[in-house]
Amino acid sequence: MIKAKGICKSFADKKVITGVDLDIKPGMIFGLLGPSGAGKTSLIRIITGQLVFESGEISVFGKPVSELSGEDKRQIGIMMDDHGVYDRLSCIENLKIFADIYGVPRSRIKTALAQVGLADASKKPAMKLSKGMRTRLQLARVLMISPRLLFLDEPTSGLDPMTMKYVHKLILEQKANGCTVFLTTHNMEEASCLCDEVALLNEGKIIDRGAPGEICRKYNHQKKVNIHLKSGEDLELEHGASSSGKIAELMAQGQIETIHSSEPTLETVFIELTGRKLESEEEIRYA
């Protein structure tokens, strides 16, 4: 669906993307993880032809990105973090504009609004919507066109947990319909639960890639089992045959409250590889 080889892009003297390779298969949810300023949005803008790149090759739908026709572009839904809606217009009026541009039947507007849970707010001006509802309106705008390829730039940034779950459900529905999803996020939980494959982007370079579980297992250096006993005591045992007897004994005695293996999360892998967090303390505080 998307193939990229050796993509490089600089702004003035600063390199924002350095030698990025991608191979995104049809029907998968691909997650690009990285902290703010890592180059995630720039990479989406390059792949979607909004930003000219200096070197490398990109193909979308098997064609170089510069040769995509109007019909090809109509099959690409793009929801960027900073994209606006027409504040004075109602949800329906907002969608009508894009239904007309994409040549989508007007009947799809109501379906798309119902799909994102905005059917009751369809006549409400966009300026009166909450942040979560605005995000869902933006999603309705891209879902309405039934895209084959969907770019979502931080779709859940700043949303409450309920709305976030709702958005996740919509993304998974798109995948079930055969849509390929390219998602950027700095939320590792989101990436773990949604993505078939993730790439970790730092300072414009992809530092590792693979299935989320696979990456976590790859960096499982500790190989420990952490046990919390009913007595309140914490035990850390080797993740191996040597600990099996002890674990079996504790289990048999009914002393175990919780038991976890110690494989890292995407967040800890990222910190290990870069020394940086995916989401800064400041971003967490203001989210």
Partner: protein, 228 residues
């Protein structure tokens, strides 16, 4: 062509809810009707208020509206969404320009009600030319400015010069001499004559130079800033 029509429809839906822009289109036609019917001063030239407000209308409404619309879309990132939906910059600008021109011409139609039937085509032609040049200047400001605040600080002085200097020129010879370099002053003189007979060569030349300058500046702004 379809996208141009979509932009026009979008603007029409938005204008009804956008009072600052709506007032721009409605204010002078309404003022003209009120003043022409309510005020009578001895020895006042025929249709004095209509001609006065017409020049102000052509120098103000299209210029400020186009600059406001484009800069607002840039500021709120809705323009980027349109561009990504494969609306070409030319289609967007044509849609906004046509919408503004049509609404201004409708306003001019209201203002023309005082003229006799044979004068109306001449009046509307003069207004149409003025609107086109003002739209180009407004588009130039809208494209150049990155947000509404910058656009306002640019279009207010420009609009004041083009719409009010011809009025001041009526009372001061020195201002009148300076004002002759502006298309609005030349179009005001055409409205005073209400005929092509006796038209000085200076009038079409100045209007043409103003138009060329506005279009050139627009292309320079567009080349430098695009619609991002």
């Amino acid at each position: 062509m379809r996208n141009i029509w979509v932009i026009i429809k979008k603007q029409l839906a938005d204008t009804i809810k956008n009072k600052p822009v709506l007032i721009q289109f409605v204010m002078y036609p309404v003022l003209t009707l009120i003043m022409e019917n309510a005020v009578t001063i001895p020895d006042m030239p025929e249709l004095f208020f209509t001609k006065l407000f017409s020049v102000m209308y052509m120098g103000m409404a299209p210029l400020t509206s186009v600059a406001s619309i484009i800069s607002e879309e840039k500021e709120k990132n809705t323009l980027r969404v349109l561009m990504m939906a494969n609306v070409k910059p030319g289609e967007y600008l044509a849609g906004v320009g046509l919408y503004t021109w049509i609404l201004c011409m409708a306003g001019a139609g209201v203002m023309a009600t005082g003229f006799s039937a044979y004068q109306i085509p001449f009046y509307l032609a003069v207004m149409a030319i003025g609107f086109i040049i003002s739209i180009a200047i407004g588009a130039c400001i809208g494209v150049f400015a990155s947000n509404q605040m910058t656009a306002s600080s640019l279009f207010v002085p420009v609009m004041l010069v083009f719409s009010f200097v011809p009025m001041l020129a009526m009372f001061n010879d020195k201002i009148e001499k300076c004002a002759r370099i502006f298309y609005t002053q030349q179009l005001r003189e055409m409205l005073d004559l209400m005929t092509f007979d006796g038209l000085k060569i200076e009038t079409p030349v100045v209007i043409l130079i103003n138009a060329i300058l506005a279009i050139t500046l627009f292309f320079i702004a567009f080349k430098r800033k695009g619609l991002e």
